[in-house]
């Protein structure tokens, strides 16, 4: 029975709005513009956020850099530096929240190819190095797990080394000598360029860290000076840190009152700040867009007031034949809500298409969540009802005798 009443009202309201299509369209324009700009802004900032997130992750938002040497809080070096060892490495690798572990052993060695010979930075690492550093090969392959297991004499050249020793020629499949021992070049890395500090990131040769130890003819064992650990997710980072610290303290037999003789560096704080900033930006932009929604709502109120005045006589007739105030309120609220919902629906569609357009233009994805669509619908409905209340109330309070005498 209630629903019949509802349906009757909505049909009546819809047919009434359809009678004056240009006016209905113009009235809903404010809502269309408001909703579509909110949709666009949220979609674009959401897209930007995922891009930023991705970049942060690739920059190390979920990585931990382990370094030997602990420091006291005042910055004074304390105790002996202790390099990491293979055992610690495999224990880390076995942790459930650890995605990959990459050791870093840095040396400088005499490197020669044909008649050219230079001292070059050599980095011993493993197959995870490329993934953790998000560093694809330009040509050939990266070292794999087998190479690391076998201590294979293979190497991957940084872009600068490739250029210096081989020029335009592709180094892949050639052999170079590192401290007199022959290494086969299996690939070259893409160019990363200079750091902001001006250091050439591409000037090194990467080999399995196991082969570095093996060929050291001086009998000197290179320790693992750094380990880069990547956590499965950013959320797990804290737990991973905790597990590693516990493991290292245990294997190293550190007593309760002893300081760590290693340190762990993460980029969490920076990451969180940046993500917070994008969130603030999103809220700010939506708030600005919402202003146009309010303006749209006032437009609806304005037209509804005009409509009430125009239909004074009709309202009088309806009250005379038995309409109660709630019937009149409902009649006009249905209309304003319908206008706003129509505007909301068109606004969502328009916002959808425009955000695809803008996305092409700015070059990052537009992400429209169902959440933002639902919120847009609810919000436009709310605007319609909120700004329809006053005109509807005014209509319901009419004196039927005066209203019925009104000539349009």
């Amino acid at each position: 029975m209630i629903s019949r009443y509802l349906i009757d009202n909505i049909i009546e309201a819809a047919s009434n709005l359809l009678r004056n299509k240009p006016r209905t369209l113009l009235t809903s324009l404010g809502i269309i513009i408001g909703i579509s700009s909110v949709i666009i802004l949220v979609a674009i900032t959401n897209g930007a956020k995922t891009i930023i997130e991705e970049q942060l992750v690739s920059l190390g938002a979920k990585t931990i850099v382990l370094k030997p040497i602990g420091r006291t809080r005042s910055g004074v070096y304390r105790g002996m530096a202790q390099d990491f060892n293979q055992n610690e490495l495999s224990l880390m690798k076995a942790m459930p929240t650890v995605e990959s572990v990459s050791p870093i052993v840095k040396t400088s060695n005499q490197v020669s190819y044909r008649n050219k010979s230079q001292v070059v930075a050599v980095v011993g690492s493993n197959e995870d190095f490329a993934r953790i550093n998000d560093w694809p090969t330009e040509s050939g392959d990266f070292i794999n797990e087998m190479d690391v297991q076998d201590g294979a004499r293979v190497c991957v050249l940084g872009a600068s080394v490739q250029k210096r020793f081989f020029g335009a020629e592709d180094a892949t499949s050639q052999s170079i000598r590192i401290d007199g021992i022959s290494f086969k070049v299996i690939g070259t890395l893409t160019e990363k360029g200079l750091t902001p500090g001006g250091r050439d990131q591409d000037d090194f040769i990467l080999i399995p860290f196991t082969s570095l130890n093996r060929w050291d003819y001086k009998g000197q064992l290179y320790g693992i000076s750094n380990i880069i650990v990547s956590s499965t997710t950013t959320e797990d980072l804290e737990f991973t840190k905790f597990s590693i610290r516990k493991m290292l303290r245990e294997t190293r037999g550190l007593l309760k009152d002893e300081f760590d003789n290693f340190e762990m560096v993460t980029y969490e704080k920076i990451t969180r700040k940046i993500l917070q900033t994008t969130n603030i930006l999103k809220i700010l932009l939506s708030a600005i867009a919402s202003i146009s929604l309010v303006v749209g709502g006032i437009g609806i109120m304005n037209i509804m007031l005009v409509s009430v005045t125009e239909r004074t006589k009709e309202i009088g007739i309806r009250i005379t034949i038995g309409a109660k105030s709630r019937d009149i309120v409902f009649q006009f609220l249905s209309e304003s809500a319908l206008i706003a919902l129509f505007g909301g629906a068109v606004g969502i569609a328009l916002g959808y298409f425009l955000s695809q357009l803008v996305s092409n233009f700015v070059g990052w994805p537009a992400i429209i969540s169902t959440e933002s669509i639902i919120i847009a619908c609810l919000f436009s409905g709310f605007i319609g009802i909120f700004f329809g209340i006053y005109p509807a109330f005014k209509a319901s309070r009419m004196d039927p005798i005066k209203a019925i005498r009104n000539e349009q």
């Binding site: 006589k313 009088g316 007739i317 309806r318 005379t320 034949i321 038995g322 039927p400």
Partner: protein
């Protein structure tokens, strides 16, 4: 004097309009008793308060003072919404200028009071509206809009609308005022038929023919019954 029960009873009804700093009294101590199945004409010169009294009887207006008992209900104690319900169920009102809603068809106008009643079934509504249009002999104009109908036809639609909830009382304010004499006669015949069907009818009129047909005539002059 009358075997029927009292349906409308006005006692000492006064109506005073406040016009800024002056007061205009248009009804003076009106006392009136109307019985079921009465057919009453209200006559009087222009401005004598006929419409004012009819609006009060129709529960569209409230007297400044006095008591109005309708069907044993004290009308003054009721809220506006209660009065809407009373108008919807027990009173049918007909106006000189018909007061149809122009963007609705004849059939839709006739069934509009049902929108505010308990009858929610669409089929029942349409059937009832058609029956009422049949009573005023307008079935062939059901889908016409008011501006496609003659004055007499519009008034018959208005009468059909007043009948839709089968009210006990029909109130008409100069129903033939805008119609020519032949059409007026049709309307009078209709009102007579409704009276014969058992309705209580009060009609304001300048039309002697109507006044002749009624059982009784109330003469108003300067807001007083004479």
């Amino acid at each position: 004097m009358n075997e029927h029960k009292t349906i409308i009873e006005l006692s000492n009804i006064n109506k005073i309009y406040n016009l800024g700093n002056t007061k205009l009294q248009v009804l003076f101590d009106i006392c009136l008793q109307i019985y079921e199945k009465d057919f009453i004409a209200i006559v009087g010169p222009s401005g004598s308060g006929k419409t004012t009294i009819l609006n009060i009887i129709a529960c569209l207006d409230r007297p400044t003072s006095g008591q109005y008992i309708l069907n044993d209900i004290d009308v003054n104690s009721k809220s506006n919404d209660d009065l809407s319900e009373i108008r919807n169920k027990s009173i049918g009102v007909i106006f000189q200028n018909f007061n149809l809603i122009s963007r609705h068809s004849a059939l839709e106008n006739v069934q509009m009071p049902l929108l505010y009643s308990d009858i929610t079934d669409k089929k029942t509504r349409t059937r009832k509206a058609r029956e009422c249009l049949e009573m005023v002999d307008l079935t062939d104009r059901a889908s016409h809009y008011p501006n496609e109908l003659s004055g007499g036809q519009q008034q018959r639609v208005a009468i059909a609308r007043s009948l839709i909830n089968d009210p006990d009382i029909i109130l008409a304010d100069e129903p033939t005022g805008n119609l020519d004499s032949q059409t007026s006669r049709d309307i009078i015949t209709l009102l007579k038929k409704l009276h014969e069907a058992g309705k209580t009818i009060i009609v304001i009129t300048h039309n002697d023919e109507i006044a002749k047909e009624t059982m009784d005539t109330i003469n108003l002059k300067d807001g007083k019954i004479v």
